[in-house]
């Protein structure tokens, strides 16, 4: 019966969407408060911005089991729900906080002076000036925050957490139960309903919001107007959509998290970041373990943590890291390899882009995790391949959209120079497209690398509905997954801390250095 599955799927989307909305609501509140304080108070800024930089690179999935323990111990009734919302919140909020921070930072000084001269109260200033000015970027940020959130929402619903057998009803669990029952219709219907819900939400919630917020833009930030593709031109010639001329399709740039990379590269130092990261990891653990302290004394908790360093052994940890690193690097290289040619092709062929880009956007907005239950029972015996596919499904779009955005910024005059002098193919890539695109591609790679590490926790080993699918070789994600299943909080804490250090080191030592090098070598006056 398709109808039955349809009803279940819509109910699942409804429940999941409620979770998402709750998390988004919290995210907006948090971002206005924290982003606002960071933008308005110099001293707070110095602490908050590097902190956010660390927080946004923390692998959320690694933390989730702990959050779950914490919330569950607090209240078994709503613990799982709270943990899921918390997880989604952490995946949405940093992007938005940077958006708020940036928006307030770029308010022209005369507006702030005028509001002060008028003697507006701080509250009036907040509601009449600061908050409205953040709306354009917040609403644009919704698009990427929502798709990011969906990924973790589904993950939180499908992952097995060992002894804590919590089941959240929603998209992920529905998919998983259809998958384990071998119900293909059910899986197809769930996927279709999900895609429909994503498109409807985009069209009738986010796009009108983005459109509406256009009026709060200051002249100086109006650049963001251009990358919007009018929906009517996408469906040109179709009568049906003729009625929606006002609604515009967001450009692919909007799918990317907004991180002021040039700024961060200059101001945030590596060692300080690492220390921050460690402190945050430990603090987070302590907070989540607080409820557990009723049962286990603190010394034992700390002892257990240190003991694991010994029992797991540095050698094994290094091996785990090395294997995972190799997987992440392969995935990023793969994504770069197909993204650049396609991005150039689509950036130079407007007609092809007009129908390809929306398709890619829809494909990209499907949370990769929703297909994991299907993959769990597929490709048995090809574990590395399956893991590779799972990783790239989650992160390749970041690279593509960044590359596309970069290529679209290549001015047509520069392309004409290539044409005039017959510089084609690889030569054109070397002479123009790579130099122009590289800063943007690097920031896409950073987002993708972060995404890949996150994905590892599931991609290297997952247990869905009794099926365990994972690699035979070592891997940090696999180790985290095993520790989660065994309920070994100590190992979990240790392994996640290792992952945080690895992510931040790669980010700081490799990507940002590369970014710095590239922008200075290429002599771009502006930092993307």
């Amino acid at each position: 019966m398709v109808l039955e599955e349809l009803a279940i799927a819509w109910a699942a989307v409804g429940v999941s969407w409620l979770r998402m909305a709750a998390a988004l609501f919290l995210s907006v509140g948090f971002s206005l408060l924290v982003g606002g304080v960071a933008a308005l108070n110099k001293r707070a800024e110095k602490i908050i911005i590097p902190l956010l930089d660390v927080l946004q690179s923390i692998p959320i999935l690694g933390f989730f089991p702990l959050a779950l323990y914490g919330f569950y111990t607090l209240s078994p009734a709503i613990g799982a729900e709270a943990a899921a919302i918390f997880l989604i919140f952490t995946s949405q909020v940093w992007n938005l906080t940077f958006a708020v921070y940036e928006s307030i930072k770029v308010i022209p000084a005369e507006f702030i002076e005028t509001s002060k001269a008028l003697g507006l109260s701080p509250w009036a200033r907040a509601t009449k000036l600061y908050i409205p000015s953040t709306l354009p970027r917040i609403f644009v940020g919704f698009v990427s925050s929502w798709s990011n959130g969906l990924y973790f929402l589904v993950a939180s619903e499908i992952i097995d957490f060992g002894e804590l057998d919590v089941k959240l009803f929603g998209l992920g669990s529905t998919m998983a139960s259809f998958a384990s029952a071998g119900n293909v219709t059910g899986m197809a219907v769930t996927l279709a309903v999900l895609v429909a819900a994503i498109i409807l939400t985009d069209l009738f919630v986010f796009l009108p919001l983005i459109h509406y917020s256009g009026r709060f833009k200051f002249e100086a930030t109006a650049v963001e107007d251009s990358p919007i593709i009018p929906l009517s031109s996408v469906f040109k010639g179709r009568k049906l959509v003729g009625r929606l001329p006002r609604i515009r399709f967001p450009s692919p740039e909007f799918m990317l998290p907004r991180i002021p990379l040039g700024w961060l590269t200059k101001r945030v130092r590596f060692v300080k970041t690492l220390l921050y990261a460690l402190a945050i990891t430990l603090l987070a653990y302590l907070i989540f373990l607080l409820p557990l302290l009723r049962e286990i004394p603190l010394q034992k908790l700390l002892y257990g943590f240190l003991e694991r360093i010994y029992t797991i052994g540095p050698y094994n940890i290094i091996l785990d890291v090395a294997f995972s690193l190799a997987r992440v690097a392969t995935a990023v290289l793969f994504a770069v390899a197909w993204s650049i040619p396609l991005a150039i092709y689509l950036a130079t062929n407007r007609r092809a882009a007009l129908f390809t880009i929306p398709i890619i956007q829809v494909a990209a907005s499907i949370p990769a995790t929703i297909t994991y239950p299907i993959f769990a029972s597929l490709l048995q015996g090809y574990d590395e391949l399956r893991t590779f596919i799972l990783i790239i499904m989650g992160m390749q779009w970041y690279v593509f959209f960044a590359a596309y955005a970069g290529m679209r910024r290549v001015p047509s005059e520069e392309r004409e120079v290539l044409e005039l002098y017959n510089i084609r193919g690889l030569a054109g890539l070397k002479v123009l497209y790579l130099p122009r695109g590289i800063p943007s591609i690097i920031s896409g790679c950073i987002a993708a690398t972060g995404g890949a590490w996150n994905t590892l926790v599931v991609a290297e080993r997952m247990k869905i509905g009794g099926v365990v699918a994972g690699v035979k070789t070592p891997g940090l994600g696999k180790a985290i997954s095993v520790a989660t299943e065994m309920g070994d909080i100590y190992s979990l804490a240790l392994l996640v801390a290792v992952m945080v250090i690895v992510i931040i080191s790669i980010n700081k030592v490799f990507w940002r250095k590369l970014y710095e090098l590239a922008t200075s070598k290429l002599r771009f006056p502006e930092a993307t």
Binding site: S233, E413, E416, V417, E419, L420, Y421, R424, V431
Partner: protein
């Protein structure tokens, strides 16, 4: 070959570059269509200095792009030495008003882009040739500078060097003296005129698009005056004045007035 003699210079009326029955339209967003040419024909003769004048937005830049093979006309053809021109060739150089230099390359490397796909030259040859042209426009000291370190006028000169380094037969110039200081413009103008007059040097023919009517009368053998869009040739004005032309003479101003009247 038809050869005429006017004021001391031989004139060949056969064309080196020709646009026949050109049709160009642009599709704007929202279904708007701009028709720029509906059957425009234009001839550039051997060894001539041709001027093009026309109202703002009538399609002068578009015309040069079509003549350079950069823009495909919807209908109509471009012939270079009686051969269909399908794509840009080093024999026809185009200088657009936008000074497009790649910021990540030095001045020398930017000029070398013009020779990039020339397989017959070694790298050393290319460097030497580009240096020579940079020297000619007076920028020999700047070959390892980056575009961001140059003034606007210097950038124009680099673009000019880049256009000349391929030894083109035809040089298409779109408002090359805009936005540079008047003294530099005077120098650059006579530089181009001298190169063109020197028979042994390229280019053989120059096409100059300009809003500055005096400039056109000073430099050109003929000036093609275009109408509003869709642009047609309103009139071709032959300038029969001895070179170097003296701006203070009455005949000079008669030509300026004539073109001015045609434009307004």
């Amino acid at each position: 070959m038809v050869v005429e003699e006017t004021v001391g210079r031989l004139r060949i009326t056969e064309s080196i570059l020709e646009g026949r029955e050109l049709h160009v339209r642009f599709n704007l967003r929202r279904g708007l269509v701009i028709s720029v040419f509906e059957g425009l024909s234009i001839q550039v003769r051997y060894a001539e200095f041709l001027g093009i004048a026309g109202p703002v937005g009538c399609g002068k830049t578009t015309l040069l792009k079509v003549l350079a093979g950069l823009l495909k006309p919807e209908r109509g053809e471009v012939y270079y030495k009686n051969q269909r021109l399908e794509k840009p060739t080093p024999a026809i150089s185009l200088v657009l008003p936008t000074t497009t230099l790649f910021p990540w390359y030095t001045v020398l490397e930017n000029v070398m882009l013009a020779l990039y796909s020339d397989k017959s030259l070694t790298r050393e040859d290319k460097i030497e040739r580009c240096r020579a042209f940079l020297d000619m426009v007076g920028l020999s000291a700047f070959d390892s500078a980056y575009p961001s370190e140059l003034s606007d006028g210097m950038k124009k000169k680099v673009i000019l060097a880049r256009a000349l380094v391929t030894h083109p037969d035809v040089l298409l110039l779109d408002e090359p003296f805009d936005n540079i200081d008047p003294l530099a413009a005077v120098a650059l103008r006579s530089e181009i005129e001298n190169m063109w007059m020197n028979e042994s040097m390229s280019p053989s023919s120059v096409v100059l698009v300009s809003h500055d009517i005096e400039e056109l009368v000073e430099l050109c053998d003929r000036v093609v005056v275009l109408t509003e869009r869709p642009a047609r040739v309103k009139e071709v004005v032959e300038i029969n004045l001895q070179r170097p032309r003296d701006k203070r003479r009455r005949e000079f101003y008669d030509y300026v007035d004539k073109i001015f009247t045609l434009l307004s």
